[in-house]
């Protein structure tokens, strides 16, 4: 379970998160929507300890992420993350991309790492690309590789930061399909997304971020179909038309 308590985060004088409270239970899918600069991506970075926080706590399975004694490298093994930019390792083949971290981070043997990587790549539909270099693939394929690479670490949670935003429109579908597969697997996910229809379809909860606070949170029906707050209504009318 991910437990976010009164989190404040600033970059210099700019306060980006102003007291965020959230719970994500095992097996749940939470979508975070909101305009740019609302702090939604920053929150993901804080959960993964890529960014520090100034106040509050983020607890993942009982571990305080930002406590000074926490081994953050180890913690990140629990938390898979995929970014807007896919960041494939260009010097490695698709299979090596996915097998690298299991081997050097989890300390698996080469054969074990490869068999996990193969399994995850097949899972995201890249079973025919093992020996290809990622630079020869489309953005959608590279983004699916990034998902398989994160899954190869056998994480308990997946964090997705606007993973379709940098893709050509015709490639968005294949990446969203991959997320649907993870949803069916029962993976616990937090997705920051601009794909409102997708968020409505797959999420258990939706949180609407506005200027560093959670303006509205609830089921997709409550937040997307029948938003109560004016800011939410305004935002949705802009992105849905």
């Amino acid at each position: 379970m991910i437990n976010i308590q009164n989190v404040h985060k600033s970059f210099g004088d700019l306060e980006v998160l102003k007291g965020i409270n959230l719970d994500v239970k095992k097996g749940e899918v939470l979508s975070i929507i909101g305009g740019s600069g609302s702090g939604k991506s920053t929150l993901l970075y804080c959960i993964n300890a890529i960014e520090n926080i100034q106040q509050g706590n983020i607890i993942v399975d009982g571990i305080d992420v930002h406590h000074k004694d926490t081994n953050q490298d180890k913690l990140r093994q629990k938390l898979g993350m995929v970014f807007q930019q896919w960041n494939s390792f260009p010097h490695l083949t698709v299979l090596e991309n996915a097998a690298l971290a299991p081997r050097i981070v989890s300390g698996l043997s080469k054969d074990e790492a490869i068999s996990i990587a193969e399994k995850e790549l097949i899972h995201v539909g890249l079973g025919d690309k093992f020996d290809v270099y990622p630079t020869k693939m489309s953005g959608g394929q590279q983004q699916r590789l990034a998902i398989a690479r994160a899954l190869s670490m056998r994480p308990d949670y997946m964090l997705f930061d606007e993973i379709t935003s940098a893709l050509d429109p015709e490639l968005v579908g294949e990446v969203l399909d991959t997320l649907r597969i993870l949803r069916e697997d029962g993976m616990t996910m937090i997705t920051v997304t601009h794909e409102i229809a997708f968020a409505r379809e797959v999420s258990d909860h939706v949180a609407f971020f506005h200027q560093g606070v959670i303006e509205e949170m609830g089921t997709p029906d409550e937040v997307i179909t029948n938003p109560k707050k004016e800011t939410t209504q305004k935002f949705l009318s802009k992105v849905l038309t």
Binding site: N48, I50, D73, K74, R76, Q77, L79, G80, M81, F83, Q85, N87, F89, P90, H91, L100, A101, I104, V105, S106, A146, R149, A150, M153
Partner: protein, 217 residues
């Protein structure tokens, strides 16, 4: 007793080969030592704040801006004043290696800088430690990218090594100067020396262009 000057003969082959060997030796030493130091300094510069960077940068600027021939003469004179008797190979290797390091560090730094940011964050998010990211992701990617520039610096070091002749190291140019003063055949000898440098450098630079083209695809 014959004439004061004797023409070039096959007996000079050994002497010339010694010169070639010494040129190759000092070039290899300077390229290897200069690359290792350059990699370390380049990495430190890529990772450090602007104050450390400015300090290191100004030292490197001196090494890059003062002509190599002056550095060689200054250093060997300085060693002499201190009362040490250092053999020209050691003196030349030190100066040429530091000179090489100054250029290599910029090449490496540019490479490391280009694999910062999002690639590093993506690697760390997989649970890799800082050093695993350096070793498995940032180094391999940037070292491939800089190979053509690295080769360019290495080639100029081979040519610059001729300057070490001024402090008395018996490399190819110094060997040929001695042969010239004995044989009075400067044209043949210097053309031969020029061909040697060309034969070493040109294929390497072609190879560098080939690699560059291959990576651009």
């Amino acid at each position: 007793m014959g004439s004061l000057f004797t023409p070039l003969s096959w007996n000079d082959t050994g002497f010339i080969l010694t010169g070639i060997l010494n040129t190759v030796t000092i070039s290899v030493v300077a390229i290897v030592v200069g690359s290792i130091l350059g990699l370390i300094v380049g990495f430190i510069r890529s990772e450090s704040n602007k104050y450390t960077n400015a300090l290191l940068g100004s030292i490197l600027d001196v090494l890059r801006s003062v002509p190599l021939i002056i550095q060689l003469i200054l250093f060997s004179t300085f060693i002499g004043i201190l009362g040490y008797n250092m053999n020209p190979f050691v003196t030349g290797s030190i100066v040429l290696s530091l000179y090489t390091m100054a250029f290599m560090s910029e090449v490496f730094r540019g490479g490391f800088d280009s694999v910062h940011g999002s690639m590093e964050i993506a690697s760390r998010s997989l649970g890799m430690t800082y050093w695993q990211t350096v070793r498995y992701v940032r180094f391999p990617i940037s070292l491939r990218a800089i190979f053509p520039s690295w080769l360019g610096v290495a080639l100029s070091v081979i040519k610059d090594s001729a300057l070490v002749s001024v402090i008395g190291y018996m490399e190819l140019l110094r060997t040929s100067e001695q042969l010239i003063s004995r044989t009075q055949q400067p044209l043949e000898i210097l053309i031969g020396v020029g061909i040697f440098y060309f034969v070493i450098s040109y294929p390497l630079s072609l190879y560098g262009k080939y690699v560059e083209r291959k990576m651009a695809v």
